[in-house]
């Protein structure tokens, strides 16, 4: 029974999987609700296919590093990166460029959050009272969950996070940072402000248990990056077409996949501050 269905299934799908040549493939870093990635981004793929006139596919990846690797290996030609992963990717692929960013990404921020039992209140200035507590970052490769908070911690204390806090963890993702700080498994954490706001809207933030203690100054974050060699495959002017398609994305249902209000133009130069920050804390070598 099982082997029959297995075989039938296998045969059914080889038929479907042969027409893959020269399709335009993109991915997105898994920063938030990964569970519906495929559904969300397949719609974006359909939109791009209609605008670009080529076959467009989305492939899911499991980590920031995997997104960078797929881009580097030319398994994807376009990617929705975070600030830091985008910088990594473009350093590794000559001629690649940032072509669009979310409207919100021009002035992105990180929230430092604390479990209410710590008694650390919200403040305008960096909350130095977090020293000596347990602290969790998000993913190791995240801009808002790792790079920017580590930068500010080092700047304020003149020490590495390991020396500032009694324990330092990497929750792996923003939602989990929130869950861990809310339960008190970690006392303090730092995460992407948008994820926090979304979770709040979804009713998953209990103000009696977790609160924002500090908001970082703004920095540039997520962006669409494209490989330089796409025009050799898809024709001259393809890059501009992709940018136009992204900037012209107005359907709220599509934009919610990111989630962003709209996309605006971006360039590699916009991300110089991220590169400098990454170098200053030793995440990227000079």
């Amino acid at each position: 029974m099982l082997r029959k269905s297995l075989l039938a299934m296998a045969l059914a799908v080889i038929a479907g999987s042969t027409a893959l040549a020269d399709s335009f493939v993109f991915t997105a870093i898994p920063d938030e609700d990964e569970t519906r990635l495929k559904q969300r981004f397949d719609k974006v793929a359909d939109y791009l296919a209609a605008k670009l006139g080529v076959e467009v596919r989305y492939i899911p990846v499991k980590s920031y590093a995997a997104a960078v690797t797929a881009f580097r290996n030319n398994q994807v030609q376009l990617a929705w990166f975070g600030g830091l992963s985008g910088v990594h990717a473009r350093r590794l692929v000559k001629g690649s460029e940032a072509i669009a960013q979310g409207y919100e990404d021009q002035f992105f921020t990180t929230y430092f959050i604390a479990n209410a039992a710590t008694g650390i209140a919200e403040s305008k200035d960096f909350p130095k009272a977090i020293a000596g507590r347990t602290f969790t970052f998000g993913s190791k490769g995240s801009t808002s969950g790792r790079l920017m908070p580590e930068f500010h911690i080092r700047k304020q204390f003149g020490k590495s996070p390991d020396d500032v806090f009694s324990r330092v963890g990497f929750s792996g993702d923003h939602s989990r940072t929130l869950a861990l700080v809310q339960s008190g498994a970690y006392e303090v954490g730092a995460l992407n402000y948008k994820v926090f706001e979304n979770e709040k809207k979804a009713g998953k933030v209990d103000p009696a248990k977790v609160r924002i203690t500090w908001t970082t100054p703004a920095y540039p974050d997520y962006q669409w990056s494209i490989r330089g060699d796409v025009e050799a495959t898809f024709g001259a002017g393809f890059k501009a077409k992709v940018r136009q398609a992204l900037l012209g994305m107005k359907d709220k249902m599509l934009l919610d996949a990111f989630p962003r209000k709209s996309f605006v133009a971006a360039s590699n130069g916009d991300y110089a501050p991220i590169l400098d920050t990454a170098k200053s804390i030793g995440l990227i070598d000079d």
Partner: protein, 500 residues
């Protein structure tokens, strides 16, 4: 003292002593403030599995089986080819020791650099370490073959015919059983590889778990438990080839299909793994070599050395924890201690404990106790204790029984445990190296094991650092393996894990 304790008892006390010593340095503080809301949410989720929410459930299951089947098939075939020369040819032994000393997850991370998140990366990540393991265990099984058949051969019988007609038939059942046990391990590996991007169960499991969708997590875990528990129903040696033949098609249809470019493989070897200070430098430039010295020293002193210490502490404590739990668990599935109903409950418990990825267990305990070594120790001990408990329990059921055997505690302490103790230690020492490899994936708890630093290097796209740390991890594993083998020899423990 008049009582002379046996060598096995001395060894056991030695290990407990080492673990107690390690406990002094281990960080076991409980720091949680309010775990109950999240734990309540988990408990509710686990009690209300939602099978409809996961759209790609059937596909995830299919992929999990397909990757496991292909990986194990390739691993066992290569292992079988290498087994006859394993004992006589040093380099084969060393290469096998090296490739099995690296965790599947790290193999996957390496191959993803070359092939991207593609099926090839996944299959190789299982096949390569399994080749090393199968070559070793098959060789040991062949070694123990009954030699009487050999003596009946006419003089001058060729080596190959001797192997196939006299040696192989005697151990065939044993080889087959072991290969099936490997398939169960392969299913677990295949599922866990989803954590780094293969489209298997782990892919969805990790996503749902991260998001706190515990009903979906529960559904996935239950399916996985059923898959493992029913392995003997859906997989038979006779139809194994059907699975092997069908798997490539199933995988080709999966989500991870990507293109293959030779330049990426080339780049991996000529750029990625070359230490940063030597990349693009003249080979004779003394400055570059000085920088390389600094680079190596910084990596060793800041990451490798502390990583080794943390890894050993965690391993030694978890090893003893595993032993204690295994001794506590095995009666659950033994007909010497429990009736049919009790044993069923025991089986369900052990399947759950041994099939739930340590990472998931660790996360639950992290909620309960906060970040320290404690969640990691308990997670590793529970998972491995359940595996050894299962194997010992089955072994106990096969023991000859005396009509005048005592009952209850006396049966346990004065008959069963003494009779299986040697086998128990053999399994435990086998598991030693495995436990050490598994410490790698618990970086989330803020324990900076070697695995944590490897993961960090990969996240920073510093493949050169990752490679050096992986090699160090492998050497540490080989060292443990040698200790384990010497101990087993000294204690005269049966060396083959009579697993299946």
């Amino acid at each position: 003292m008049l009582v002379r304790r046996s060598a096995t008892v001395n060894a056991s006390f030695g290990f407990v002593g080492i673990a107690l010593f390690c406990l002094i340095f281990a960080d076991l503080e409980v720091t949680t403030l309010d775990p109950w809301t999240e734990l309540g949410r988990m408990a509710w989720g686990f009690a209300t599995p939602d099978f409809l929410a996961v759209d790609q459930l059937a596909d995830a299951l299919l992929q999990t089986v397909a990757f496991a089947v292909l990986g194990v098939a390739a691993g066992s075939v290569f292992g079988f080819v290498l087994a006859p020369v394993f004992q006589h040819f040093g380099p084969v032994r060393w290469v096998c020791a090296f490739i099995r000393a690296i965790h599947e997850l790290f193999w996957a991370l390496i191959f993803i650099q070359m092939f991207g998140p593609s099926p090839l990366a996944g299959i190789l990540a299982i096949a390569i370490p399994y080749t090393g393991i199968c070559a070793k265990v098959y060789a040991e099984i062949l070694e123990e073959a009954d030699l009487r058949a050999l003596k009946t051969l006419p003089p001058g019988a060729g080596r190959i015919s001797t192997f196939f007609y006299a040696k192989l038939p005697d151990v065939w059942v044993h080889l087959k059983d072991y290969t099936f046990y490997r398939l169960e391990c392969g299913l677990r590996s295949s599922a866990v590889l989803g954590f780094v991007g293969l489209p298997t169960l782990g892919f969805y499991l990790e996503s749902f778990f991260k998001q706190g969708h515990y009903s979906e997590v529960s559904a996935l875990l239950i399916l996985f438990f059923v898959l493992i528990a029913t392995i003997r129903l859906w997989m038979r040696p006779r139809i194994a080839w059907v699975y092997v033949a069908a798997s490539p098609f199933a995988i080709a249809a999966g989500a991870g299909t990507t293109t293959f470019e030779w330049v990426n493989v080339q780049r991996f070897f000529t750029e990625d793994i070359v230490p940063a200070p030597l990349r693009n430098a003249e080979i004779l430039d003394p400055g570059a070599w000085l920088n390389f010295g600094d680079w190596t020293w910084a990596l060793l002193s800041h990451q490798a050395l502390p990583g080794i210490v943390a890894t050993i502490l965690l391993t030694q404590i978890a090893l003893v924890g595993t032993g204690i739990l295994a001794l506590a668990f095995f009666p659950m599935i033994s007909d010497r201690f429990f009736g049919r109903a009790g044993r069923t409950v025991g089986h369900v418990f052990l399947v759950i404990a041994r099939s739930t990825p340590e990472y998931v267990l660790a996360y639950i305990f992290l909620q309960l106790w906060g970040p320290s070594m404690l969640p990691a120790i308990v997670a590793l001990s529970l998972h491995n204790g359940a595996i050894i408990g299962h194997l010992i329990g089955r072994h106990v059921n096969e023991l000859e029984r005396r009509p005048d055997a005592p009952k209850g505690v006396n049966l346990y302490a004065y008959e069963v445990v003494p009779r299986v103790y040697g086998q128990f230690l053999a399994f435990l020492f086998y598991r030693w190296e495995v436990i050490m490899r598994e410490t790698a994936i618990l970086g989330i708890l803020g324990i900076h094991t070697l695995g944590f630093h490897i993961d960090s290097a990969i996240a920073d796209i510093r493949i050169d650092r990752a490679m050096l740390l992986i090699v160090i991890t492998a050497l540490l594993n080989i060292a443990i393996d040698i200790c384990s083998r010497n101990l087993r020899r000294r204690l005269r423990l049966r060396s083959t894990p009579d697993a299946a």
